[in-house]
């Protein structure tokens, strides 16, 4: 187990971060991580300062990232990723398990085809957030873009801000849901602004009726 910190260097191109997940890096040394290829002409050392500390946690922290850093947390299966900055497109796409926290804004397709685990975004997200999402929990404290939950099958979108109305999402009204207390308790062990949420009263929307229609958006009420 280790705590890996990847401090982003200034870049002028997109950086594909899909191989930088805890399950792929956990048994690698600092030198091995630095030498990993992110593209044919790009190594980790070209775009990140790498540090590794022995730790009981199974965590990667990204520092200074921007919208150029794409596919962070792609298909991760375990552990935790903290993005202490912005993230590009496909943040947490195909997430299989674990916890991914983004303290800044995220690009398009956050949580695309996510299957399990928890993706918590403290800032805003771009369009097609949770597209084709299959299950799991995706929280957004900021604003959401167009086509939210497009093709979403199952899972929960926890929203602090009301989304734009969409024809394929049905408003099921306001409710107090006891399970939210359990979810909020699970946030307490995380370093995230999500720990401040405590309202069990939510507006529930169900969709995407253009597909399976078993997903839900829960819009937290004050």
């Amino acid at each position: 187990m280790s705590h890996i910190t990847l401090s982003a260097k200034a870049v002028t191109r997109h950086v594909d971060c899909r191989s930088l997940v805890p399950n792929l890096l956990s048994d690698k040394s600092m030198a091995e991580i630095a030498a990993m290829r992110l593209a044919a002409d790009l190594t980790v050392a070209d775009v990140f300062e790498v540090s590794v500390e022995a730790d009981e946690a199974h965590t990667i922290t990204f520092l200074n990232t921007t919208s150029a850093h794409q596919y962070i947390g792609f298909a991760m299966t375990a552990g935790q990723i903290i993005v202490a900055g912005d993230a590009g497109d496909y943040l947490g796409a195909q997430l299989q398990n674990g916890v991914l926290i983004c303290k800044g804004n995220a690009g398009a397709r956050a949580g695309d085809r996510m299957r399990r685990g928890m993706l918590l975004i403290e800032g805003n997200v771009g369009e097609y957030c949770a597209s084709d999402m299959m299950a799991g929990t995706l929280g957004v404290l900021g604003n959401t873009g167009a086509y939210l939950g497009y093709g979403m099958k199952r899972g929960t979108l926890l929203l602090a801000q009301a989304p734009a109305a969409q024809a394929t999402w049905i408003d099921c009204g306001l409710h107090k849901l006891p399970f939210l207390n359990i979810l909020y308790k699970s946030f307490k062990r995380l370093d995230s602004r999500f720990t401040q949420i405590n309202s069990q009263r939510v507006q529930r929307l169900v969709g995407d009726m253009g597909g399976l229609g078993k997903a839900e958006m829960l819009v937290i009420q004050p």
């Binding site: 299950a135 849901l177 006891p178 207390n181 359990i182 062990r189 078993k214 839900e216």
Partner: protein, 307 residues
């Protein structure tokens, strides 16, 4: 051995291996948690006729429950895993699912996990929602949210099944029915201060202790005539002329130590009323020691030799 003028028989309670589980029941307030738990543990006094033996273990504060609401912990025991699973599912469906605001959670961890809401989820008719949420230790647990008319019924998918012991007991013998009942009430109050045990009979006390067999061929148990005060002189009685009433407290627990500790507390509380208040003897029920795997010897337990 004599405690406060009360004779302690040199005998033992004979107890059996059982399977047990614990369920945490929460609700909007304790009133409704009790409504759910009382229904779930109703008609669960003896495996002979009820399938399981169950009872409320204790109240839980909001800090102790998974969903932060007031609650109760319930222990349930059966002679085998199959009947325990059947009874748990039936009682979950009829007593917890039906009770307004009630939710149910696993109360014990084990390698053997049995269904709590795993099959009950189908009541949702396709609208049920599964949520996997990590607990305080980061271990993911699966919950089911089932739409019901008062909102959502929330239940954890499974709970643990563990090896347990049932049939610890002691008898309180006294000069009158009222005095024995008062002593038993004191004993139950003391025993309920201890975790991991339940006393499954009404109010924790049973007045119809039984012996194995009967003069009627179809009956496999019948009244414990040796301890029936109205049969003194008619049968080979265990009672001396002063005894006018006998009551039994049966205790099931998760371990031998749990039962022994609670029995000690209960007997000491019963003896606290003393000979002056009509409590004359403490004895225990057994079958000669050949049937039960566990023997709770009264005198070593009370002297502290067995903990």
């Amino acid at each position: 051995m004599v405690i406060n003028g009360v004779d302690i028989d040199d005998t033992f309670a004979e107890a059996f291996n059982m399977r047990g589980t614990r369920i945490l029941i929460t609700a909007q307030n304790l009133r409704w948690a009790y409504n759910a738990a009382n229904a779930m543990t109703g008609f669960a006094t003896s495996v002979i006729g009820c399938g399981v033996e169950a009872g409320i273990e204790r109240e839980l504060t909001e800090d102790e429950t998974p969903d932060g609401r007031p609650g109760l912990s319930v222990l349930m025991f059966a002679m085998g895993s199959k009947v325990l699973m059947q009874q748990l599912e039936t009682r979950m469906g009829q007593c917890i699912l039906t009770c307004p605001t009630a939710a149910a959670f696993a109360g014990i961890e084990s390698e053997d996990m049995i269904s709590l809401g795993k099959h009950l989820r189908f009541f949702g008719d396709g609208h049920q929602v599964s949520k996997q949420i990590p607990d305080a230790n980061g271990k993911r647990k699966r919950y089911w949210r089932i739409p019901v008319m008062d909102g959502e019924f929330l239940t954890e998918e499974t709970t643990g099944m563990v090896r347990a012991i049932g049939g610890g007991n002691f008898l309180v013998l006294g000069a009158s029915q009222a005095q024995v009942l008062t002593a038993c009430e004191a004993a139950i109050d003391a025993m309920r201060q201890h975790p991991n045990v339940i006393m499954p009979f009404p109010g924790g006390v049973v007045r119809s202790g039984s012996k194995v067999g009967s003069k009627y061929p179809k009956m496999f148990a019948s009244t414990n005539d040796a301890f029936c005060p109205t049969l003194k002189g008619v049968v080979k009685s265990e009672l001396d002329p002063r005894v006018e009433s006998v009551m039994e407290i049966v205790v099931n627990g998760l371990s031998f130590e749990d039962i022994a500790v609670s029995m000690k507390a209960g007997i000491e509380a019963a003896c606290g009323l003393g000979k002056d208040n009509g409590i004359l003897r403490i004895s225990a029920g057994n079958y000669g020691g050949k049937l039960g795997q566990h023997h709770f010897k009264l005198r070593p337990i009370l002297s502290g030799e067995v903990k």
